[in-house]
Symmetry: none
Subunit: 194 residues, 4 copies
DNA sequence: CATGAATGAGCATTCATTCAT
DNA sequence: AATGAATGAATGCTCATTCAT
């Protein structure tokens, strides 16, 4: 069981996103996802351990590269300030690019049980590491205040971005999220700048 | 049905907090709450419409005054900066004072369905209003930058505080949350200060 | 318990008829009957053994004299044919006179469990005895065919009257039931007349 | 849901008849029916929408053809009198042939709520239509009195047959019901014959 | 690989009845 | 006598998961 790969693996994940986004987490039964994916209920279990595994995998597949993409794009920048701007922009861009996914990750998946949420947090660890690297780099370069508490600053960045996105999703994604990137970036810089 | 009042009303709510905190949202059956409260299952329904009503009431009773208390305490301060410090401190204090409640509000209740979460958000509206008042006051007094975007700043404050508390809860509340109040306050002030 | 008499006894029975007629058998909770009667739930149990006892008593009180009244009125007639006409007329009259009661006895009370219905049948026994007496009298007087099977004839009379009344109730009692008395009487006589 | 077909569909209906007949309507829990049918509780819901659907289907399956069978058998007769005799005989025969079913339809199913009973009545409508056709035919052929009221006559036939069967069921089906067909037929004919 | 029929544990809620006041 | 708050047993239905085909 749980043999990943094969085209059905992605079919099922995409079906899950679609079903959860349109019916909500609690109405996303395995049979509904199977139907949407065009496979039999049992087939799901050839690709995933159990229902929770679909959701965790969904998160990994869709958000796993999230950090890598940002990290790569940032590498070519020299200034920490620009790096942070890129990060904020890309965070917003990636979620605005797939509104179904935004609904799923910001609202629906948070209704999952604690275990699932813990696994999701694991995936975020790389994001947190990236944030701390950025903060350290900023401090070492003398751009950020020397005694900035990395954990706190990281929580401020992530908390702010997450709250901004969640508010946007709750307003039905009907305004331009990316337009908020620069103002948010400015506010964060003001907080951290030496 | 749903005649609030009577000591049992509070007994049941306290039992719900305890049961949810120790068993988790999805393992908090009505019968378990009743047993913990020392009443019969049916008695629950003399005080609450249904299970969701227990949770909404729990939130209203425990968090409803949250904002009022902060607002009153803040009224006696003159400086906006001090007001914000009080707010951050009290936010942390109230949650650290009842760790069970912190677990319930930061982790467990967020697993509830969309309807319940919408009701919970309604209760938060007053908090957001208070935050915006504070921001406006700060701008008018010339303490905060004149073109500060209220919505963004409010999202930064709430997002940061919420993320800080959630991280603390996920680390089993084992360090002093209140100690973070001043550093958080400093960071926020840096971001907003003219 | 079950001490009959006292004005509340009748209050409760009348309330039961009203509640059952307007809300239906399955929505006639004891608490609803108590409220309608203007007494506390517990008071019901000072006058009745249990819920079933309310219904049986209701039937006894309202239908118990049914047969006696008919029997008395019939006594003064000499012809069996006229006696049967009186019986049919009075059967229809008594039910048309209290439509609430007609709904309760023809439709709602038949949803009760088998035990209750058996008790109700006991009350009807006197009616069946009266019918058989009439049939025997008719046969002895030579009006009715000599080899008329009393049981069958009794079932025909009761089955027909009951079906006619039930159809009338199901049509919302909106036509004149008593007008059917003579035609029904004629048909029955044709069947039995020597 | 509710995909009729498959042997289990009939297994479940037969189990329902058996369970209701032996335990009574109010003690016929879904789990009891499932156990009797030799399937899991959940399997019931692959074949029926809900519990009420089991009972309605039971009635349709077992009584739905009742009228058709009588109608077909009657078609080959020429005399109205013989047709009526066939009808009475077959009515009794079909119920005597399955005593469990007789108990269920004459006693238990009448305890069901109004909705279910309305659905049951719909099924009976064809029976009433058949009766009226027979009466009209008899009048046109000059066998029955010209001014016979169809509705009344129909109520007399149905009321009588139903009462005869119900009495038989309440006497535990311990005498021969079919033996009553001819006497009942004679009585009815006497009532209607010109 | 794929199917989908079958499984069966799990739970919120109602309401007749009691009994301390 | 009268109250009404408290009781707690009882049950239809869902849905993640399995396994024979």
């Amino acid at each position: 069981m749980g043999k990943k790969k094969g085209p059905k693996y992605n079919q099922i994940i995409d079906a899950a996103v679609k079903v959860i986004a349109s019916h909500g987490y609690h109405q996303a039964q395995v049979s509904k996802i199977a139907k949407e994916a065009g496979v039999a209920d049992g087939t799901i279990y050839l690709y995933f351990e159990n229902k929770e595994d679909i959701l965790t995998s969904l998160f990994k597949e869709k958000m796993g590269h999230f950090v890598e993409i940002i990290r790569e794009r940032i590498a070519s920048e020299t200034s920490v300030e620009d790096k942070l701007l890129i990060l904020v922009k890309m965070h917003f861009e990636q979620l605005q690019a797939d509104k179904h996914l935004a609904i799923v990750t910001q609202l629906e998946l948070r209704q999952s049980n604690k275990d699932l949420r813990l696994k999701i947090n694991t995936i975020f660890k790389n994001y947190l590491i990236l944030l701390e690297e950025l903060l350290t780099e900023g401090k070492e370069a003398g751009y950020f205040i020397a005694d900035l508490d990395n954990r706190l600053a990281r929580q401020m960045i992530f908390g702010t971005l997450d709250e901004v996105v969640t508010n946007w999703v709750m307003k039905d994604c009907k305004y331009d999220l990316i337009a908020s990137a620069e103002p948010v970036h400015n506010l964060l810089l003001r907080a951290f700048r030496a």
